[in-house]
Subunit: 89 residues, 4 copies
Protein backbone atom coordinates (compact mmCIF):
# COMPACT_ATOMS: atom_id res chain seq x y z
CA UNK A 1 0.00 0.00 0.00
CA UNK A 2 2.61 2.47 1.17
CA UNK A 3 4.88 3.59 -1.58
CA UNK A 4 8.52 4.55 -1.48
CA UNK A 5 7.70 8.25 -1.89
CA UNK A 6 5.73 8.37 1.35
CA UNK A 7 8.68 6.94 3.23
CA UNK A 8 11.11 9.31 1.55
CA UNK A 9 8.91 12.31 2.26
CA UNK A 10 8.52 11.39 5.93
CA UNK A 11 12.29 10.98 6.32
CA UNK A 12 12.80 14.43 4.76
CA UNK A 13 10.29 15.86 7.26
CA UNK A 14 12.15 14.12 10.09
CA UNK A 15 15.31 15.90 8.92
CA UNK A 16 13.40 19.20 8.83
CA UNK A 17 12.15 18.62 12.39
CA UNK A 18 15.68 17.83 13.57
CA UNK A 19 16.65 21.19 12.05
CA UNK A 20 13.95 22.87 14.13
CA UNK A 21 15.29 21.17 17.27
CA UNK A 22 18.78 22.47 16.44
CA UNK A 23 17.34 25.98 16.03
CA UNK A 24 15.85 25.78 19.53
CA UNK A 25 19.13 24.45 20.95
CA UNK A 26 20.95 27.38 19.38
CA UNK A 27 18.32 29.77 20.75
CA UNK A 28 17.01 30.93 17.37
CA UNK A 29 14.43 33.71 17.11
CA UNK A 30 11.00 32.44 18.33
CA UNK A 31 9.07 33.52 15.26
CA UNK A 32 11.54 31.76 12.95
CA UNK A 33 11.07 28.55 14.93
CA UNK A 34 7.26 28.86 14.73
CA UNK A 35 7.50 29.40 10.96
CA UNK A 36 9.64 26.28 10.56
CA UNK A 37 7.19 24.25 12.66
CA UNK A 38 4.38 25.47 10.38
CA UNK A 39 6.43 24.38 7.34
CA UNK A 40 6.83 20.92 8.90
CA UNK A 41 3.06 20.76 9.44
CA UNK A 42 2.33 21.80 5.84
CA UNK A 43 4.63 19.01 4.65
CA UNK A 44 2.90 16.50 6.95
CA UNK A 45 -0.47 17.57 5.52
CA UNK A 46 0.78 16.80 2.02
CA UNK A 47 1.98 13.34 3.05
CA UNK A 48 -1.40 12.62 4.69
CA UNK A 49 -3.20 13.59 1.49
CA UNK A 50 -0.99 11.27 -0.57
CA UNK A 51 -1.55 8.37 1.85
CA UNK A 52 -5.30 8.97 1.74
CA UNK A 53 -5.22 9.05 -2.06
CA UNK A 54 -3.43 5.68 -2.19
CA UNK A 55 -5.83 4.29 0.40
CA UNK A 56 -8.90 5.37 -1.60
CA UNK A 57 -7.49 3.79 -4.73
CA UNK A 58 -6.78 0.46 -3.07
CA UNK A 59 -8.47 -0.59 0.20
CA UNK A 60 -11.52 1.61 -0.26
CA UNK A 61 -12.27 0.36 -3.79
CA UNK A 62 -11.78 -3.24 -2.64
CA UNK A 63 -14.06 -2.79 0.37
CA UNK A 64 -16.82 -1.05 -1.55
CA UNK A 65 -16.76 -3.58 -4.36
CA UNK A 66 -16.68 -6.44 -1.85
CA UNK A 67 -19.74 -8.12 -0.38
CA UNK A 68 -19.06 -7.34 3.28
CA UNK A 69 -21.45 -4.49 4.23
CA UNK A 70 -19.90 -4.04 7.69
CA UNK A 71 -16.42 -3.68 6.20
CA UNK A 72 -17.71 -1.17 3.65
CA UNK A 73 -19.28 0.95 6.39
CA UNK A 74 -16.14 0.76 8.51
CA UNK A 75 -13.92 1.93 5.67
CA UNK A 76 -16.19 4.87 4.80
CA UNK A 77 -16.57 5.89 8.45
CA UNK A 78 -12.78 6.11 8.74
CA UNK A 79 -12.60 8.53 5.82
CA UNK A 80 -15.11 10.84 7.50
CA UNK A 81 -13.18 10.59 10.77
CA UNK A 82 -9.80 11.57 9.33
CA UNK A 83 -11.49 14.37 7.35
CA UNK A 84 -13.14 15.69 10.51
CA UNK A 85 -9.85 15.45 12.41
CA UNK A 86 -8.00 17.22 9.59
CA UNK A 87 -10.06 20.35 10.21
CA UNK A 88 -8.86 20.35 13.80
CA UNK A 89 -5.11 20.03 13.42
CA UNK B 1 -28.53 13.64 -1.10
CA UNK B 2 -28.68 16.68 1.17
CA UNK B 3 -30.71 16.05 4.26
CA UNK B 4 -32.85 18.44 6.28
CA UNK B 5 -30.28 18.57 9.07
CA UNK B 6 -27.60 20.05 6.83
CA UNK B 7 -29.94 22.85 5.82
CA UNK B 8 -30.99 23.49 9.40
CA UNK B 9 -27.38 23.55 10.60
CA UNK B 10 -26.33 25.98 7.87
CA UNK B 11 -29.21 28.32 8.72
CA UNK B 12 -28.19 28.24 12.37
CA UNK B 13 -24.64 29.13 11.34
CA UNK B 14 -25.99 31.98 9.21
CA UNK B 15 -27.73 33.31 12.32
CA UNK B 16 -24.48 32.95 14.26
CA UNK B 17 -22.61 34.89 11.57
CA UNK B 18 -25.26 37.65 11.62
CA UNK B 19 -24.62 37.85 15.38
CA UNK B 20 -20.92 38.36 14.66
CA UNK B 21 -21.76 41.17 12.22
CA UNK B 22 -23.91 42.81 14.91
CA UNK B 23 -20.99 42.54 17.36
CA UNK B 24 -18.77 44.38 14.90
CA UNK B 25 -21.44 47.04 14.30
CA UNK B 26 -21.69 47.57 18.05
CA UNK B 27 -17.89 47.77 18.27
CA UNK B 28 -17.48 44.66 20.43
CA UNK B 29 -14.08 43.66 21.82
CA UNK B 30 -11.83 42.37 18.99
CA UNK B 31 -10.86 39.13 20.70
CA UNK B 32 -14.52 38.28 21.39
CA UNK B 33 -15.27 38.77 17.68
CA UNK B 34 -12.34 36.52 16.68
CA UNK B 35 -13.56 33.83 19.10
CA UNK B 36 -17.06 33.94 17.61
CA UNK B 37 -15.64 33.71 14.09
CA UNK B 38 -13.67 30.64 15.20
CA UNK B 39 -16.89 29.14 16.60
CA UNK B 40 -18.60 29.73 13.24
CA UNK B 41 -15.70 27.96 11.51
CA UNK B 42 -15.87 24.99 13.88
CA UNK B 43 -19.59 24.66 13.12
CA UNK B 44 -18.90 24.86 9.37
CA UNK B 45 -16.32 22.09 9.73
CA UNK B 46 -18.91 19.87 11.35
CA UNK B 47 -21.41 20.49 8.54
CA UNK B 48 -18.73 19.69 5.94
CA UNK B 49 -17.98 16.39 7.66
CA UNK B 50 -21.67 15.46 7.68
CA UNK B 51 -22.04 16.32 3.99
CA UNK B 52 -18.95 14.25 3.17
CA UNK B 53 -20.32 11.33 5.18
CA UNK B 54 -23.59 11.41 3.23
CA UNK B 55 -21.68 11.74 -0.01
CA UNK B 56 -19.50 8.71 0.74
CA UNK B 57 -22.57 6.64 1.59
CA UNK B 58 -24.38 7.52 -1.62
CA UNK B 59 -22.55 8.88 -4.70
CA UNK B 60 -19.20 7.33 -3.82
CA UNK B 61 -20.60 3.83 -3.29
CA UNK B 62 -22.60 4.12 -6.52
CA UNK B 63 -19.59 5.31 -8.50
CA UNK B 64 -17.22 2.66 -7.15
CA UNK B 65 -19.69 -0.16 -7.70
CA UNK B 66 -20.47 1.17 -11.17
CA UNK B 67 -18.64 0.15 -14.31
CA UNK B 68 -17.37 3.60 -15.33
CA UNK B 69 -13.66 3.70 -14.40
CA UNK B 70 -13.32 7.42 -15.25
CA UNK B 71 -16.23 8.32 -12.98
CA UNK B 72 -14.74 6.22 -10.17
CA UNK B 73 -11.43 8.00 -10.48
CA UNK B 74 -13.12 11.39 -10.56
CA UNK B 75 -15.12 10.73 -7.41
CA UNK B 76 -12.09 9.48 -5.49
CA UNK B 77 -9.93 12.38 -6.65
CA UNK B 78 -12.51 14.82 -5.28
CA UNK B 79 -12.32 13.21 -1.84
CA UNK B 80 -8.55 13.70 -1.77
CA UNK B 81 -8.97 17.29 -2.93
CA UNK B 82 -11.42 18.32 -0.22
CA UNK B 83 -9.28 16.51 2.37
CA UNK B 84 -6.19 18.38 1.21
CA UNK B 85 -8.08 21.68 1.23
CA UNK B 86 -9.46 20.95 4.71
CA UNK B 87 -5.93 21.02 6.12
CA UNK B 88 -5.52 24.53 4.74
CA UNK B 89 -8.62 26.29 6.04
CA UNK C 1 -11.39 49.62 16.80
CA UNK C 2 -13.36 47.81 14.13
CA UNK C 3 -12.99 49.37 10.74
CA UNK C 4 -15.48 49.59 7.90
CA UNK C 5 -13.62 46.97 5.90
CA UNK C 6 -14.16 44.29 8.51
CA UNK C 7 -17.89 44.93 8.44
CA UNK C 8 -18.00 44.94 4.66
CA UNK C 9 -16.02 41.72 4.46
CA UNK C 10 -18.25 39.96 6.97
CA UNK C 11 -21.36 41.02 5.06
CA UNK C 12 -19.84 39.65 1.85
CA UNK C 13 -19.16 36.36 3.64
CA UNK C 14 -22.77 36.32 4.90
CA UNK C 15 -23.89 36.62 1.26
CA UNK C 16 -21.53 33.80 0.32
CA UNK C 17 -22.97 31.60 3.09
CA UNK C 18 -26.51 32.37 1.95
CA UNK C 19 -25.39 31.18 -1.49
CA UNK C 20 -24.24 27.91 0.09
CA UNK C 21 -27.64 27.50 1.76
CA UNK C 22 -29.33 28.04 -1.60
CA UNK C 23 -27.07 25.37 -3.13
CA UNK C 24 -28.20 22.90 -0.47
CA UNK C 25 -31.85 23.83 -1.00
CA UNK C 26 -31.42 23.21 -4.71
CA UNK C 27 -29.73 19.88 -3.97
CA UNK C 28 -26.33 20.85 -5.45
CA UNK C 29 -23.52 18.31 -5.74
CA UNK C 30 -22.11 17.54 -2.25
CA UNK C 31 -18.48 18.17 -3.14
CA UNK C 32 -19.34 21.58 -4.62
CA UNK C 33 -21.07 22.50 -1.37
CA UNK C 34 -18.07 21.38 0.70
CA UNK C 35 -15.76 23.46 -1.52
CA UNK C 36 -17.91 26.56 -1.06
CA UNK C 37 -17.98 26.01 2.71
CA UNK C 38 -14.17 25.80 2.64
CA UNK C 39 -14.08 29.07 0.66
CA UNK C 40 -16.27 30.71 3.34
CA UNK C 41 -13.87 29.46 6.01
CA UNK C 42 -10.83 30.79 4.15
CA UNK C 43 -12.54 34.20 3.94
CA UNK C 44 -13.37 34.09 7.67
CA UNK C 45 -9.72 33.30 8.43
CA UNK C 46 -8.67 36.41 6.54
CA UNK C 47 -11.11 38.60 8.46
CA UNK C 48 -9.85 37.17 11.76
CA UNK C 49 -6.29 38.01 10.80
CA UNK C 50 -7.25 41.60 9.96
CA UNK C 51 -9.13 42.00 13.25
CA UNK C 52 -6.14 40.61 15.15
CA UNK C 53 -3.83 43.00 13.31
CA UNK C 54 -5.98 46.00 14.27
CA UNK C 55 -6.19 44.70 17.84
CA UNK C 56 -2.41 44.36 18.13
CA UNK C 57 -1.91 47.89 16.84
CA UNK C 58 -4.38 49.43 19.28
CA UNK C 59 -5.45 47.64 22.48
CA UNK C 60 -2.33 45.52 22.77
CA UNK C 61 0.07 48.46 22.41
CA UNK C 62 -1.98 50.48 24.92
CA UNK C 63 -2.06 47.61 27.43
CA UNK C 64 1.65 46.82 27.16
CA UNK C 65 2.68 50.46 27.44
CA UNK C 66 0.28 50.93 30.36
CA UNK C 67 1.16 50.40 33.98
CA UNK C 68 -1.37 47.67 34.78
CA UNK C 69 0.56 44.39 34.87
CA UNK C 70 -2.61 42.29 35.23
CA UNK C 71 -4.16 43.92 32.14
CA UNK C 72 -0.94 43.35 30.18
CA UNK C 73 -0.92 39.68 31.08
CA UNK C 74 -4.59 39.31 30.20
CA UNK C 75 -4.15 40.87 26.78
CA UNK C 76 -1.15 38.69 25.92
CA UNK C 77 -2.85 35.54 27.18
CA UNK C 78 -5.77 36.20 24.83
CA UNK C 79 -3.43 36.36 21.83
CA UNK C 80 -2.00 32.95 22.69
CA UNK C 81 -5.51 31.58 23.16
CA UNK C 82 -6.84 32.70 19.77
CA UNK C 83 -3.62 31.47 18.14
CA UNK C 84 -4.01 28.07 19.78
CA UNK C 85 -7.66 27.92 18.75
CA UNK C 86 -6.80 28.92 15.18
CA UNK C 87 -4.80 25.72 14.78
CA UNK C 88 -7.92 23.75 15.67
CA UNK C 89 -10.52 25.23 13.35
CA UNK D 1 14.02 32.76 25.31
CA UNK D 2 13.48 29.08 24.52
CA UNK D 3 12.92 27.03 27.60
CA UNK D 4 13.89 23.46 28.33
CA UNK D 5 10.30 22.26 27.94
CA UNK D 6 10.10 23.35 24.31
CA UNK D 7 13.21 21.35 23.51
CA UNK D 8 11.96 18.32 25.41
CA UNK D 9 8.57 18.47 23.69
CA UNK D 10 10.12 18.74 20.23
CA UNK D 11 12.36 15.74 20.93
CA UNK D 12 9.32 13.73 22.03
CA UNK D 13 7.58 14.71 18.78
CA UNK D 14 10.69 13.64 16.83
CA UNK D 15 10.39 10.22 18.52
CA UNK D 16 6.69 10.13 17.60
CA UNK D 17 7.52 10.94 13.98
CA UNK D 18 10.17 8.20 13.90
CA UNK D 19 7.42 5.86 15.10
CA UNK D 20 5.27 6.94 12.14
CA UNK D 21 8.18 6.22 9.76
CA UNK D 22 8.53 2.76 11.30
CA UNK D 23 4.79 2.17 10.78
CA UNK D 24 5.20 3.01 7.08
CA UNK D 25 8.24 0.75 6.78
CA UNK D 26 6.24 -2.08 8.32
CA UNK D 27 3.35 -1.35 5.94
CA UNK D 28 0.85 -0.36 8.64
CA UNK D 29 -2.78 0.38 7.80
CA UNK D 30 -3.03 3.74 5.91
CA UNK D 31 -5.68 5.25 8.17
CA UNK D 32 -3.63 4.44 11.30
CA UNK D 33 -0.65 6.23 9.75
CA UNK D 34 -2.79 9.30 8.91
CA UNK D 35 -4.11 9.37 12.48
CA UNK D 36 -0.58 9.29 13.91
CA UNK D 37 0.49 12.08 11.55
CA UNK D 38 -2.48 14.13 12.78
CA UNK D 39 -1.38 13.45 16.39
CA UNK D 40 2.12 14.70 15.53
CA UNK D 41 0.58 17.86 14.05
CA UNK D 42 -1.58 18.46 17.13
CA UNK D 43 1.55 18.17 19.29
CA UNK D 44 3.43 20.60 17.03
CA UNK D 45 0.55 23.07 17.33
CA UNK D 46 0.86 22.95 21.10
CA UNK D 47 4.60 23.61 20.97
CA UNK D 48 4.03 26.57 18.62
CA UNK D 49 1.51 28.06 21.04
CA UNK D 50 3.96 27.73 23.94
CA UNK D 51 6.76 29.36 21.91
CA UNK D 52 4.43 32.22 20.93
CA UNK D 53 3.40 32.67 24.56
CA UNK D 54 7.04 32.96 25.65
CA UNK D 55 7.73 35.31 22.75
CA UNK D 56 4.83 37.62 23.67
CA UNK D 57 6.01 37.75 27.28
CA UNK D 58 9.58 38.66 26.39
CA UNK D 59 10.51 40.11 22.95
CA UNK D 60 7.07 41.59 22.27
CA UNK D 61 6.83 43.40 25.62
CA UNK D 62 10.39 44.72 25.19
CA UNK D 63 9.71 45.93 21.64
CA UNK D 64 6.42 47.62 22.48
CA UNK D 65 7.82 49.33 25.55
CA UNK D 66 10.91 50.38 23.58
CA UNK D 67 11.25 53.60 21.64
CA UNK D 68 11.89 52.07 18.20
CA UNK D 69 8.62 52.41 16.26
CA UNK D 70 9.91 50.37 13.30
CA UNK D 71 10.87 47.49 15.60
CA UNK D 72 7.48 47.64 17.29
CA UNK D 73 5.69 47.43 13.96
CA UNK D 74 7.91 44.56 12.82
CA UNK D 75 7.23 42.52 15.94
CA UNK D 76 3.45 43.02 15.71
CA UNK D 77 3.39 42.24 11.99
CA UNK D 78 5.11 38.91 12.69
CA UNK D 79 2.38 37.93 15.16
CA UNK D 80 -0.31 38.56 12.55
CA UNK D 81 1.69 36.58 9.99
CA UNK D 82 2.10 33.45 12.11
CA UNK D 83 -1.57 33.70 13.12
CA UNK D 84 -2.62 33.90 9.48
CA UNK D 85 -0.35 30.99 8.58
CA UNK D 86 -1.69 28.93 11.50
CA UNK D 87 -5.13 28.93 9.90
CA UNK D 88 -3.62 27.38 6.80
CA UNK D 89 -1.66 24.44 8.19
Amino acid sequence: MMDENTLKRLKTIEGHLRGVIRMVEEDAYCIDVIRQIQAVEAALNKVSSRILEDHLNSCVITAIQGSDKKERERVLKEITEVFEMSTKV
